[in-house]
Symmetry: C2
Subunit: 481 residues, 2 copies
Amino acid sequence: MSKPSEPRDSRDVSRWDIETDVVVVGLGCAGAAATLEATGAGAEVVVLERASGGGGTSAMSGGVIYLGGGTPIQRACGFEDSPEEMFEYLMASLGPRPDEAKVRAYCEGSVAHFDWFVEHGVRFKAAFYPHYSGEPPTDDGLVYSGTENAYPYDEVARPAPRGHVPQIEGKAGALLMQTLLAAVERTAARVVTDGRCETLVVDPPGAVVGVVARLDGRERVVRARRGVVLAAGGFINNRAMVETYAPRLLRCKFRVGAEGDDGSGIRMGMGAGGAAINMDMGSVSLPLIPPKKLQKGILVNAHGQRFINEDAYYGRLGEYALLRHDGRAFLVLDNATFERPEVDREVAGVGETIEELERELGLPEGSLQATVALYNRHAERGEDPVFRKAREWVVPLIESPFGALDCTTENSLYAVFTLGGLRTTVDGEVLTPDGDVIPGLFAAGRTTAGLSAPGYSSGISIGDGTFFGRRAGRRAAGRRS
Amino acid sequence: MSKPSEPRDSRDVSRWDIETDVVVVGLGCAGAAATLEATGAGAEVVVLERASGGGGTSAMSGGVIYLGGGTPIQRACGFEDSPEEMFEYLMASLGPRPDEAKVRAYCEGSVAHFDWFVEHGVRFKAAFYPHYSGEPPTDDGLVYSGTENAYPYDEVARPAPRGHVPQIEGKAGALLMQTLLAAVERTAARVVTDGRCETLVVDPPGAVVGVVARLDGRERVVRARRGVVLAAGGFINNRAMVETYAPRLLRCKFRVGAEGDDGSGIRMGMGAGGAAINMDMGSVSLPLIPPKKLQKGILVNAHGQRFINEDAYYGRLGEYALLRHDGRAFLVLDNATFERPEVDREVAGVGETIEELERELGLPEGSLQATVALYNRHAERGEDPVFRKAREWVVPLIESPFGALDCTTENSLYAVFTLGGLRTTVDGEVLTPDGDVIPGLFAAGRTTAGLSAPGYSSGISIGDGTFFGRRAGRRAAGRRS
């Protein structure tokens, strides 16, 4: 059985079966981006993809790409944006200590990164989808995919939608990856599918000089003269790893990840001396909407208390509900605000009065009544001074009967993938726990810690995967070993 | 400059300056325990302590040791306890997925571990200190040091105090370590102070066979025939590491740790292929009391809401306030419940009415009023169905004037140390990211992830440090390389 974290010593390699400049491990969005840039820089590239075809988790996703700073699509749709506004939003939303150098590079390079997608054949329709945030069901190209236009971030930076979606109706991830894979095919890169990378080859005291792979059932040792780029995804599908590093995420029912997201890339990097960070964190989505009208309800915890503005993005809602309120949440509505949710979601309780509903939900006596009374008092003036939901969604909940939708982790959809991984420089170089670069080792995508942990906005994963994947590919190609 | 995470290849070692069976790195409580057991098992031991004397963070601590299951002190003080009750409490309180094998071993071995302390000269007075939880100012030997006797854990297991404190007035850590260090001196172990371990020596493909140390200004290579035990503390005093792995802890003003808690032990272990887990977590203490009467107040967040039973242990209060409520908390009291806190703590606001106090604190209009009204309504019956504070501390807050003590991270004392570290077996063997044992490498104390993350009860750090330090020392001594 393969032990990714045990590197092979190069002195134990008698001969190289294959030689190339750069080895890219994994052909999701990060691997494709690295391959395109490395070949573009003149390097000979071998790509090892363990599945029978490229695409990875990116191909299963909604295909949203977080881009901004004034892209042609943003401008055509009438939204002003700048790298500075984007930077302010991301620095405020990405947890307690974002990697400022990465956030800055990402924002300053975002318009050029949009152009890169277009150059490689990805098309975006210049139309804004306003009906809810996240993945649009239409072929519209722009959508809000974070909490830019709600409290507290609407006060931090001028809101602009930054979710860019390739033009197709519905799930756009497959189209995005088809397009990027077609671009990869036009390069001279040698793509080996059903090619499993088993571990790294290390030249003491620590430079990475190749990989051990299993191809056609045989072990092959592949030399990488300039570098290896690990782009092998996250670890949401490795239960033991999630138990060890991110046990809170186990409670989410819907794991977003291809089979290959078993953490082997991260473990290979650790075995070669790389540090992994943010390993406890994940993107946790709790989709309350569509329909958007449901934002008029109030989300309460097991103590009958509100805990967030309900118009926050679903990534923020999920994170708060799971990590701060033990995954115990109910969306309370009255007869006027109720509408059937598009996401499959059970009714947890109904009552002629809030008191009856409170009892029905098993909430402490008086708790929900106090919460609703306070909310309604302010809502009569269209205000929500306690959690700052936008005026548009603030109405008193007064029309009987009342009901609550079940938003507990046990009974509803929480979508999750891991955000922890190898620590890298802005050029994708993998760092040791002491902060030193490991010569010859690069990583990108969910094999790395990336931009977000916590504070996920949709599109950041494909966004940072491709952006830093490109930089890793270029840096690897330009390296002289 | 030393790079702990870059191991030395044994093939690059021309000669060993010192040879021994077991090298113990660090002479805090874990290192002392490992040394005592390794020498007791007949091994030749060299201890490297970078400071001018042993003691480490343990010597600076309150000296509380978390022990139970029916120790002689518990029995003499009239408390019933059993390994099973202790196990239930710990499994429920130690976060989302405690290491069950470790918790079980710890509970089953706890009475014998108490005896071990006594055998090595540590004395405990058979007297229970009831006035508050945590470190007693008297020489009493037993105290509550967790949330055993408050909600929710009082319903999980029969409450028993398990904080055992060596007999001395005030801070008992120094006495504890003096006693253990005296016991170490009575062994044949060679203790080298001012001896800094710089990195490990590794025999490819991965066995640890020694260390590189700096002694008297010169590099010395020390062979460890049977094993190396890393007991070098946590990383709270390495700002870069805290920023990288546990940025939320940066907000706590009071760091509990000796200078040596710079994470070098953890980084050495990682460099030799060890996995570090729970790296984001810390013990975060927010001491509201003494005097205990202050538990009659209510702790509210920035939304004017309560968020926990105020009689929970200070480790749990701090964790909730910092990690779930962004370190924004106020303790609201009325004239009848107010008393001057023994911990230095500012008054954040006063008011003739709750409404005035609410305004003074900058809380959303009506929020604190709603919270106090609900609390008082139940408190009139001596009940707290919302957060389940014990009846003894539940009285209506009705006597003007009202005031609030500042419990925000910015303006008050939050004590913190790190809980993340190397992943080990129940015998202290360090594991790789793939879950394999690294031959010859052991670890204990805060260099490991230990029992707790999160859900700290005081005394667990010295408790698991000594308990698993002993097991690591024994296992290392018994190993044949």
